[in-house]
Symmetry: C2
Subunit: 409 residues, 2 copies
């Protein structure tokens, strides 16, 4: 440990400021080197056969996506192909559409949410700001649920979901959670799968964004929520999502929904008015490049090799400055995903101000909480993927100096 | 002319039926040969530079699309780049979203349509069934407006739009109209551009789907509705759409919206909750392949060379069977687009039944009218693009025989 004195910290922050350098760590974006990995897919695009039994990916048809892509995601999710729809680049779009459909048309024959008075979503926090933003867009009330080490607080969730029919959904990132990096335990998944909601049209929005995004090369276990739900006849309860945004290209990949056949039919009954089909050419390219789950794990190993040193640098620098036992500065060292979640007790907003002045931008403080309000003014989401190691070292100078100053103030 | 006797017609239809052949002409889909044209785009996908000033198409960012694609569509539409958003494959999705946004959130600060009681759209007919389907999905009342030779009946439109604040929109395909193939005259476009709607949140949905889809090689004139609208300070009135579905790949191309800066800002204010960006990799591929309006015209010449003989065959076969002066059988010979619109007075449904039994499927009779109801039971949309010339000749045997029988019955 080589913690800074207040004077040293002020001096270091001033040095950062005077360097005129800018580092943007606001979002979990892949680096240029990671994007180069996906170029192999584009290089073979001209040589592929875009036809398949019963269709041509270059022509209209197949609202659910091409068979090869649906099979690939079915294997990833551990569900049947009939439970999968593959669409365009953004899984967020699928979530948005499902919420919009529920508001306007209702889920599987239930009344539209719009006609049911005030409706609510449970939001484990810290969580993903874009999930919360969808609720804000549609005027859905958000109720914060604490995140624990093995998932959200299931006692709170059970009580609210099972007693209040105005609770219609919950946002989850079950693997390498955004931003805390935890993996939901088996008992958490089982508890989700066996919920008995007061509302028939309650749905779990299971955003498995980092389904294959190990940082260690090891494949970490997350229980299959559909397997658990089937045991109690509860599989209509779940919408599961993922995308290739951090496997191939961010926002230019393909995204998938897994759900029960009834839910899929309900979704398609509205989607058919919006499009004839998603970009199937891109789906054939992806299926040919990604091939199968083993090959995806290999590709993700290439990403991990680029990402891991960055996570390690952040961890090492924080450890050197604050040690593991500082009560005011705690952070996660995740096994996968894109974020290190840093808690700086009561001074997150001030740290954000100070680093911003020094040219280093983090995700807006508070963004990981519903309505952008962190009740403890404590959480900072560090997204180390984009900067180079050298830029990251600079950013950590600014961050450590800022924390030291803010805590002293 | 070599018209068939009733006996000859019955014999010919029976022959078609017994052949066991199936020809599907339900939708305006490009043929396999047309899709091969676009393969050149995919062949160079691996060699392109996906970075541009201020961005990388392979990473998150640029909700409006990549600059090169926005510039290309701005040139095609004849508007500024600031007036263009480029999204994924389906222009229908953009239309759907705009209607959904208007229903749920309202247009540019006006009350949501949902809160304004019954709202109505004007539907020039025959028209595009998927436009009408969006209205049905959202419970928007459709009012049929007759299509004339130079566009929809503007007297009817002016009267309804200017007197009734519940009239919120109108669907138009202004060039090589679906299905009648007409091009709106300058005076029709001027009349649209100078409408003074009773509703502030009335919008013209100007679906310029066939903006460059000439069948003759000649570029046919359609007045620029934005130029006209600006003259009377009316440019907030228009949403214009197009896509490359019939330039590159159907549903796997890119689609664009052109609108006033205020409308664009309004659209993006909701789109930002739904996605971080569209598939920009596909946009860079398209911009590099399509290059500019001249090059697009050259590519469309390749499509026209494949399409024109099919349109000519349909025209020739109908002419030989019924001549130009048959009061019961009239059809269009369009200068562009994907359809021949056939009117068979009072017997369209019966013709559809007879051809279907003989293995030849047309767009569902009535589909070109709101609620699927053709008041004259007269319109059949012929989409000759998909079949080979030989299949098309077979389909025309069945069609001509069916018309002859239906008229005799």
């Amino acid at each position: 440990m080589k913690s800074l004195s207040l004077d040293e910290a002020k001096c270091l922050l001033e040095k950062c400021k005077n360097s005129g350098r800018q580092v943007d760590m606001t979002r979990g974006r892949p680096s240029k080197e990671q994007l180069e990995i996906g170029m192999r897919m584009l290089e073979s695009a001209g040589e592929l056969d875009y036809t398949y039994a019963g269709g041509d990916a270059r022509n209209y048809g197949d609202l659910k996506g091409v068979p090869a892509a649906r099979e690939l995601f079915a294997d990833l999710f551990g569900v049947g192909k009939e439970n999968v729809v593959v669409l365009d680049g953004s899984s967020l779009s699928i979530m948005y559409r499902l919420v919009a459909n529920a508001m306007d048309f209702g889920i599987m024959g239930e009344k539209p949410w719009r006609e049911q008075g005030r409706v609510k979503f449970l939001c484990p926090a810290p969580g993903y700001d874009r999930h919360f933003a969808i609720c804000e867009e549609f005027g859905i009330e958000m109720m914060t649920v604490p995140m624990l080490a093995d998932g959200p607080d299931m006692d709170v969730i059970e009580r609210l979901v099972q007693s209040d029919a105005s609770v219609k959904g919950i946002w989850c990132v079950p693997k390498y959670s955004n931003p805390t990096g935890i993996i939901f335990s088996d008992s958490t998944v089982e508890c989700f799968a066996s919920l008995k909601p007061a509302a028939k049209d309650f749905r779990i929005f299971w955003d498995n964004a980092y389904i294959v995004h190990s940082l260690t090369g090891e494949q970490h276990h997350l229980a299959n929520i559909f397997d658990e739900a089937k045991k109690c006849g509860n599989d209509d309860l779940i919408y599961e999502f993922t995308s290739t945004s951090k496997i191939t290209f961010a926002g230019s990949g393909i995204a998938a929904l897994a759900a029960s056949e009834k839910n899929i039919a309900d979704f398609l009954s509205h989607l058919q008015f919006e499009m004839i089909n998603p970009n199937k050419v891109n789906q054939v390219m992806h299926a040919a490049y990604l091939k199968n789950t083993d090959n995806i794990a290999r590709i993700m190993g290439e990403h991990a090799a680029l990402l891991r040193p960055k996570f390690e640098l952040v961890d090492r620098r924080l450890f050197e400055a604050f040690g593991r036992d500082c009560p005011d500065v705690k952070w996660t060292m995740p096994l996968g995903g894109y974020f290190i979640s840093l808690d700086v007790r009561g001074v997150a907003a001030r740290v954000g101000e100070l680093t911003k002045c020094a040219g280093v931008k983090f995700t807006k403080v508070g963004a990981t909480y519903p309505y952008g309000k962190d009740p403890h003014n404590s959480n900072i989401r560090i997204a180390p993927s984009i900067p180079t190691l050298e830029e990251l070292d600079f950013a950590m100078d600014a961050l450590i100096a800022a924390i030291t100053i803010a805590l002293a103030e």
